[in-house]
């Protein structure tokens, strides 16, 4: 089953003016001489927030800094209103973390592993065991819960990582690339779980991913990172709907020269996986009612053929491409 991107993402649980659940102010994290986070300032609204960026942008580092795994060289971070440097234990007791890489406690079956994680988070042993069964059913591992976790498939390992993050009923979930390595069906099911948590269970979550459709499907806000910095942030609807229009365009002729011409006229062009590029026409041109005409006119002047020109819906991909400056 393919993920249906037409379905609206979950609505924010609180108003836009609500206090952020996670806030970073001028945070810099150094790995030796490398700046993994460079003077990052970001606000994560309640609800589901996507942390988007290409590999190596600093997404995982940000989550690890918020967990207290790495200490920032500069800056201040708060999670659920508490300072990470001052109250890490209280923060972690209300936080669930699903790491990116495979992670389990060796030698345990799933139900013991999840119950053990619950106990580590402070649940009494009886409650931890009961919660373990419940969350394993919830994530779809009910029938496999007595199997050793080390024998699980990649998709099952992703699910059990979600289960251990959920067992102590956190107020905030950090999900680091939760659909990595999953088959399409498993990926859709995982996204449904994430969406259900955010939409129906009132669990705030930060979904770190480089997969735009995953974020677009599950989240209502997004923080876009690139090269260790935040390059865009806010409600996806707002970011997707700037004053302007998007067109799909395919031409025959000197493409690089035509792209330069379009940019010279104040438009933005981003290539896609296909040979169709996406052209963003700013509102100043639309207001004059000359959006399509301008493109045709420029094409005629440059001597290129317009083979395909169709109005398109702005997607998160446009936001992402614009933010990270992709050509």
């Amino acid at each position: 089953m393919e993920t249906n991107l037409e379905i609206a993402p979950p609505e924010p649980q609180l108003g836009e003016a609500a206090a952020p659940i996670v806030q970073l102010e001028g945070v810099t994290v150094l790995y030796g001489r490398n700046r993994a986070l460079n003077n990052v300032t970001a606000r994560f609204a309640p609800g589901a927030v996507g942390l988007l960026g290409p590999n190596g942008a600093g997404k995982s580092t940000m989550l690890k800094a918020l967990l207290g795994f790495v200490k920032p060289a500069e800056g201040r971070m708060t999670v659920l209103g508490m300072d990470v440097a001052e109250r890490p234990m209280e923060i972690r007791s209300r936080l669930g973390y699903m790491p990116e890489s495979d992670a389990q406690i060796p030698g345990m079956n799933a139900v013991s592993f999840v119950a053990y994680c619950g106990q580590l988070a402070g649940l009494p042993s009886v409650d931890a065991m009961q919660r373990s069964h419940e969350v394993l059913y919830y994530v779809g591992l009910g029938e496999a819960r007595y199997r050793n976790v080390e024998t699980y498939s990649t998709g099952m390992k992703q699910r059990i990582k979600l289960a251990q993050a959920l067992v102590h009923d956190p107020d905030l979930l950090f999900l680091d690339e939760p659909t990595n390595g999953m088959d399409p069906k498993g990926r859709d099911e995982m996204l449904e779980l994430i969406r259900d948590l955010a939409l129906n269970k009132n669990v705030n979550l930060i979904l770190s991913s480089h997969l735009l459709p995953d974020v677009e499907y599950t989240c209502n806000h997004v923080v876009v990172m690139d090269k260790a910095q935040v390059v865009a942030q806010g409600p996806i609807a707002e970011l997707k709907g700037p004053a302007g229009r998007v067109f799909e365009l395919r031409i025959k002729g000197d493409l690089p020269a035509f792209v330069d011409i379009l940019r010279g006229a104040g438009m933005e062009c981003h290539s896609t996986d296909e040979d169709v590029m996406r052209v963003f026409v700013p509102s100043t041109l639309i207001d004059q009612g000359r959006d399509q005409q301008v493109i045709f006119a420029l094409a005629a002047r440059q001597g290129v053929q317009v083979r395909h020109l169709r109005p398109s819906i702005p997607t998160l991909e446009d936001v992402f491409a614009k933010a990270v400056g992709e050509d």
Binding site: R33, F69, R92, Y97, P99, L120, G122
Partner: protein, 279 residues
């Protein structure tokens, strides 16, 4: 309406206060070892010297013909020395995988994302090894002391050797703590428990071999501080009021032991982290 709602539900129960997670780690580790039959066999085997000593004490207290078997303070010192073999075996069996296996399975980020500090994680892992090592050193030695009182039907021996209880406690504690922290530090350095086991055996035998060679060349035992087990023996001799067997001053041996424990804790502090940074 479903008969049983298998969806996710919020948790309304109570939670323990932070700071107790180390007991969860310790208990899980202990249960995990006890479930292994081979390990139970090792533990039973480790109690054989205790049984032999118990028979010795019984004979000496109940049969005048066996009076030459009567225990002295040195008997308990010898007992702890005999148990060093089992300390070595149990340390490798239990300790080698304690952190190495977690590193192999990336479990550290799971542990440290929960409300527990790194020191709690280390304390929990150390407790597993501490419990089993105490079981093969302090527990049987103290039991022997109690058996002597029971079999003799008097406190005369205990009164005459009042220092034995603290000596056994301090001596066993030194054996246990040195083995625990050294092994945990080595276990944090690798993702392979086998490699860690070999490394630990190497540390014990290699330091002993270096001292053996130096002794063979110089004929002087003042370099015994080079050997980990010799340092322990030297300090334990002093604790049990026995003439030290090496020429090395016992404070030197004690300093080496304390230095090793401090070094081990420093290694653990560096290696037990939620994220491994390679620069």
């Amino acid at each position: 309406m479903p008969i049983h709602d298998q969806s996710y539900r919020r948790y309304g129960g109570g939670k323990t206060t932070p700071g107790q997670a180390w007991t969860v780690i310790a208990w899980a580790g202990i249960l995990n070892m006890i479930r292994k039959r081979a390990f139970l066999g090792v533990l039973i085997f480790a109690f054989l010297p205790f049984i032999i000593r118990a028979v010795q004490i019984y004979l000496s207290t109940n049969f005048p013909q066996a009076a030459m078997l009567a225990p002295t303070a040195e008997t308990f010192r010898e007992f702890l020395e005999q148990q060093e073999f089992f300390v070595f075996i149990v340390t490798i069996y239990v300790g080698a995988g304690l952190i190495a296996n977690d590193r192999r399975a990336n479990a550290l980020q799971i542990y440290l994302s929960k409300p527990l500090m790194r020191s709690e994680y280390i304390a929990g892992k150390a407790a597993v090894l501490f419990v089993f090592l105490t079981l093969v050193t302090w527990v049987p030695a103290i039991l022997l002391l109690l058996l002597q009182v029971l079999f003799a039907g008097s406190f005369a021996f205990l009164k005459a050797n009042l220092f034995l209880f603290p000596a056994i406690t301090v001596g066993a504690l030194m054996q246990v703590l040195v083995a625990t922290f050294t092994m945990l530090a080595l276990s944090s350095l690798s993702k392979s428990s086998r490699y860690v086991g070999i490394l630990y055996a190497g540390v014990i035998f290699f330091t002993g071999a270096i001292y053996g060679v130096m002794y063979a060349i110089t004929g002087d035992s003042s370099l015994s501080w080079l050997s980990l087990s010799s340092n322990l023996s030297q300090v334990l001799d002093v604790v049990f009021r026995v003439k030290p067997r090496y020429a090395t001053p016992w404070p030197v041996s004690l300093t080496v032991i304390v230095g090793l424990v401090v070094l081990s804790i420093s290694v653990l502090e560096r290696r037990v982290r939620g994220v491994e940074v390679v620069t």
